[in-house]
């Protein structure tokens, strides 16, 4: 069941496009915003609301990197694995995070605190290596800063 608030936000998105289905990505975003990820149950509810089949909507949902069809932790760490960050050594950043948090790319920590994912170029290549945690961007990262950074996310 979509909440009244979710429906209201989805309706706002529908309002600016000529037909309902065109707002389906916005609808997925709204639901993910409220629920952290899009479960099969949520997907069916959104599909019904958008007057689409669940299969149709899932073909869209699974196409995009930032719609999560599996549960994620409270904070999502996105490590840039593209070229400038590779040149500048993102791999040691990744390995250090794995060591500290006990998770590899694609995994969520047992306490559900972090999910760590690789991510294409974050558009800040002159300050490589770079990563995002939630909405925050970290750049020119050195390994000795990591404890300080991670502390901010409980």
């Amino acid at each position: 069941m979509l909440t009244a608030e979710e429906k209201k936000e989805i309706d706002e998105a529908i309002h600016i496009v000529p037909y309902r289905q065109a707002a389906c990505i916005e609808a997925l975003k709204v639901v993910q915003n409220h629920r952290k990820w899009v479960s099969d149950e949520s997907l069916k509810d959104v599909a019904a609301y958008m007057e689409m089949t669940a299969e149709e909507l899932d073909s869209v949902a699974t196409f995009y990197n930032m719609i999560f069809r599996k549960p994620v932790g409270r904070h999502i760490i996105l490590v840039c694995d593209s070229i400038s960050c590779w040149v500048m050594g993102y791999e040691s950043l990744r390995d250090e995070l794995t060591k500290k948090l006990g998770i590899k790319f694609g995994e969520t920590s047992a306490d559900n605190r972090f999910t760590m994912l690789p991510n294409p170029c974050l558009g800040t290549c002159d300050c490589a290596p770079a990563m995002m945690i939630g909405n925050d961007l970290y750049r020119n990262i050195t390994l000795d800063q990591l404890d300080e950074i991670l502390k901010k996310y409980e």
Binding site: Y64, S82, I83, C125
Partner: protein, 429 residues
């Protein structure tokens, strides 16, 4: 040195408010066109300026606009492509975060030139600061009467919406972007029909890059001749140039079109880090061919870089040094393209993962005889004209040029067949 695009950006990068922006000449071009320029006249000055699209392909902006039927019924759309996701590219971020009003002004003027009444900022999800700053600036522009109905009493209407994407490199390809805005998978569309005639929701649509549209107010204010004089060559304007990789001072600078690669690397980026030598560079993002030492004095503009066998692309250069593995470098790029391929056409969907596997083998010193030839064949099989969009041909550019300039780096890791069968090495020094 004149820096029309970034000259007004504060040192701490905080965007100007609308009032502050107006104090440095902001929204003058909007007032100018609404007072007495026809859409045709705005198009004419842009055409005459020879501005070329800054999104990577370098298509002349005025010509692109001229294909929009001016008398077509509304709605018509103007979209700014702010999906910046080409690895090694970090230029639009600055304009989006720190000069949102300049972009909005450029969008309004451009929408007027093609008589669009609806506009979208298609913004990459990762650009959170930009989303915040643009939302605020759009709101200010509405309040000032620069957006909405009957703008400054001229009878011209324009709505502007911010759309943040959900992450896929293909969203930057302009027809795939349109599909994404329509709530579909971001796969490209067949052309024709071109978006100028049948784009978003089947209506006439222009998609332009952030930097392209940010140039428009200045061209309208100062004229085509002024814009041409900004450049050191025949290719007009200034350009945001960036350098990343193991140089002393990676960064982003607005410079005249036509600075040389040497100046960018040595003067602006401070040269290579101590103990490292320059081996090559991708001049304009991940999908451009390598330039090497012999090209150091190539002028960075669209025709000169093309004549040197590469593309200016996005103008943000990635430097390869002599201690970084060439094969590893190319493998990283191909991994990106393979992952971001939309899967619509076979050569790209099947070819890129295969190339990645072979590069991986070579990187692990497990390459086999014939691998390099196989990679070379793929640069043709995935080349221009063989796939449905430009992603795959773009992916082949660094690969084909790496093999051309650094073949020995690949050969080094190819075992000969005898060794593969017998385990006995023959090493030729």
């Amino acid at each position: 040195m004149e820096k029309p695009l970034t000259g007004h950006i504060r040192e701490d990068l905080r965007p100007l408010t609308l009032k502050e922006y107006e104090k440095v000449g902001g929204y003058q071009s909007l007032k100018k066109i609404l007072k007495g320029m026809t859409p045709q006249a705005v198009q004419a000055v842009v055409k005459e300026s020879n501005l070329r699209g800054r999104g990577g392909a370098g298509f002349p902006t005025g010509m692109k606009w001229s294909f929009v039927p001016l008398d077509a019924p509304k709605p018509k759309y103007l979209i700014v492509n702010a999906d910046e996701m080409e690895p090694g590219t970090f230029k639009d971020r600055l304009l989006l975060e720190s000069a949102p009003h300049q972009l909005i002004e450029g969008m309004i003027v451009s929408a007027y030139a093609i008589q669009a009444d609806q506009s979208f900022v298609f913004l990459r999800w990762a650009y959170k600061v930009a989303a915040h700053n643009i939302t605020k600036a759009v709101q200010e522009a509405y309040e000032a009467g620069y957006l909405g109905k009957n703008i400054l009493g001229s009878g011209f209407n324009l709505e502007m919406h911010l759309h943040t994407g959900v992450g896929r490199y293909m969203c930057g390809e302009e027809t795939a972007l349109l599909n994404s805005l329509e709530g579909k998978r971001a796969t490209p569309r067949a052309k024709p029909p071109f978006p100028q005639v049948s784009g978003l929701f089947g209506k006439p649509t222009i998609v332009n890059n952030v930097e392209t549209l940010s140039c428009i107010p200045h061209i309208v204010n100062n004229g085509a001749e002024w814009f041409q004089k900004l450049s050191l060559t025949n290719d007009p304007g200034t350009k945001l140039f960036g350098v990343s990789g193991k140089v002393k001072k990676p960064g982003l600078w607005e410079l005249p079109m036509g600075v040389t690669m040497r100046e960018l690397i040595e003067k602006y980026a401070g040269g290579m880090q101590d103990g490292l030598k320059f081996r090559g560079a991708l001049p304009g993002g991940a999908s451009t061919d390598f330039l090497v030492e012999e090209h150091m004095d190539v002028k960075m503009d669209y025709p000169s870089v093309a004549a040197a066998g590469s593309r200016l692309g996005t103008g943000t250069m990635i430097v390869l040094d002599d201690k970084t593995s060439v094969v590893g470098f190319v493998k990283n790029l191909i991994h990106f393209f393979a992952q971001e391929s939309c899967g619509f056409c076979t050569p790209c969907r099947e070819g890129l993962p295969w190339i990645e596997k072979v590069l991986n083998a070579i990187d692990l010193k497990e390459g086999r005889k014939g691998d390099i030839e196989m990679l070379e064949a793929h640069t043709k099989l995935l080349g221009p004209g063989m796939t449905f969009c430009a992603l795959a041909p773009g992916a082949m550019e660094p690969l084909q040029s790496a093999i051309k300039y650094f073949r020995k780096d690949f050969e080094k890791y190819i075992k000969d067949q005898h060794e593969q069968k017998s385990g006995i090495r023959t090493v030729t020094a």
